[in-house]
Amino acid sequence: MTTRQVAPAEQRTLTDVAFDPITRIVGNLGIYTKIDFNAREVVECKSTSSIFRGYSVFMKGKDPRDSHFITSRICGICGDNHATCSVYAQNMAYGVKPPPLADWIINLGEAAEYMFDHTIFQDNMVFVDYCERMVKETNPGVWERAERTPAPRGDQHGHRTIGDIMRSYNPFEGATYKEALVMSRLTREMICLMEGRHVHPSTLYPGGVGTVATPQLFTDYLVRLTRTTDFIKRAVAMNDDVFDFFYEALPGYEEVGRRRTMLGCWGAFQDPEIVDYNYKNMNEWGNRMFVTPGIVVDNQLVTTDLVDINLGMRILLGSSYYEDWTGEETFVDKDPLGNPVDKRHPWNQTTLPAPQKRDLDGGNYSWVMSPRWFDKRTNDFLALDTGGGPIARLWATALAGKVDTPYVRSTGRSVRIDLPKTPSTPETHLEWTPPAFPNTIERNRARMYFVAYAAAMAFHFVDQALNEVRSGVTKTFQDFKVPKEAIGVGFHEAVRGVLSHHLVIRDGKIANYHPYPPTPWNASPRDFYGTPGPYEDAVQGCPIFEENGPENFKGIDIMRTVRSFDPCLPCGVHMYLGGGRTLTQSHSPTFGALAG
């Protein structure tokens, strides 16, 4: 029995605090909380989305060969992840195996995307919450201490104190902030070299790529990669210094954003030696991916089998503005291996939107559905999160012990990353070990380690691709026929976590298409079992370390928690504080007209 003395909710003085919008996407994620300022704790949290996209509705009837071009438009920053995932799903449906060089080129493009997107998010978005200006406002005591604390890894990044690092994170003027913008240009150039365009690639197709493979293509990439790697080595050291300092300066900060370990990773970077995009062999080629797919529950690896992962997916309702589809058509009752496919699986989902007023008090309150993973060991529907992507990827890869390349190795309990000597920095060896539990700081820390992982992998991919080209093999495309009837699924990692595209073709047209990007998993509302989604779960019970009272409360600890999940460029956060009233509900306008 827990002995924690917590007053029942009705006896506590709760203040409604709404953060709406926290942009996902174009400003449509809202976080509605009830905070007990006396106990300095968030008591309740609901995550809502007021945007409906409808891809699963309007994809029906279209030519399946267009699907990667259309679904790329789902996102304005990780569109190429969608294109890649759609290409994987189409390869499976058409039964085509692209030439090895095509897969190496896609891997190189995606590695550059991870470097680009994680860096711009970490240094231009996340660190605004940890920069001098913000910390001075929210925790002046911490800032004073930062000024006095020497940076332990100063020899690697060149900053003398923690305060110096935090000053360099100041938006628009800090050195790191500005350097990250320069890096984002370089890494986008790398993507454009491989995929033709960023973020909506023009040279990715099912069956291969249209990129013309020449030695110069890869050396152009490599030149940029070495310069980016210089930055990454310094960035990892700065991250570690700042995050270690927060633990030290704010004892108990590890409880902020803490959540039970329930992480999902769908794997990234195909190995062309084995991948044939055939569902029947999906476990074999899935396990050879250079980021291992896996589900980690309570710090244990549950599975790395993509077939298990696929069949366990369930899309639940409960607090979403949709009608149930149980009476609608079943598109796939058995997978190609003969396993039964559930009615709530994306292959069988029919989207039936039912717009209605938001009701945060026991009713429906979000356009996001509640994706869950059915754990057949316990019969639980797990609200997996991605932790913003990197922590889940590194955790699954570390425990699986399957990745073994010259630059990155999984040891079964950690991931070792060896970055070679680059123009202005020496060879660097990094090791990421899973923390005791995921929280806000660890999600953020993993992000820069994964950027290093992607860079190290990119060195390997360049080596492999150049081997192909040097032997004169320049083929990048395999022709194919579109079947009348087929099904396909693509598993990939969007920058901020798991990504799957489920495709059903009938009569040569799309009969059903369901993309499941990471944010529906992370931002999901309560399902019909009452299980809260990951944002809600991580923010509920979150202690408040901010020194400001209710009058000028910024909600920095809540914002850091939500942003640690990388809710897609939260660039325009507005906040509405309900005037300190007790348990009154305020209806916040979506675009923050009342935000102050």
């Binding site: 009837g61 279209k62 060969r65 099912p206 093999v473 320049t474 083929k475 022709d479």
Partner: protein, 68 residues
């Protein structure tokens, strides 16, 4: 009230492919792609139509790496 729109002139489920137009994924399309060989290699003809043969490697054992 509302937005005035014209009469729709497309069927939403009409496939993008127009009959008669060559498809990039067409089986055997390699016949129409000069410079690409069936052994997964390519020649200078991939890059240029002008005196392509003179731009191939001088030694047969060298890889044929034409520019983009």
């Amino acid at each position: 009230m509302g937005i005035t729109v014209g009469r729709p002139d497309v069927e939403p489920d009409r496939p993008a492919h127009v009959a008669g137009v060559r498809r990039g994924n067409h089986k055997g399309f390699i016949k129409r792609q000069p410079g690409h060989r069936r052994n997964d290699r390519s020649t200078a003809r991939r890059s240029t139509g002008i005196n392509a043969r003179h731009r191939n490697p001088v030694d047969r054992d060298m890889p044929n790496l034409s520019p983009a």
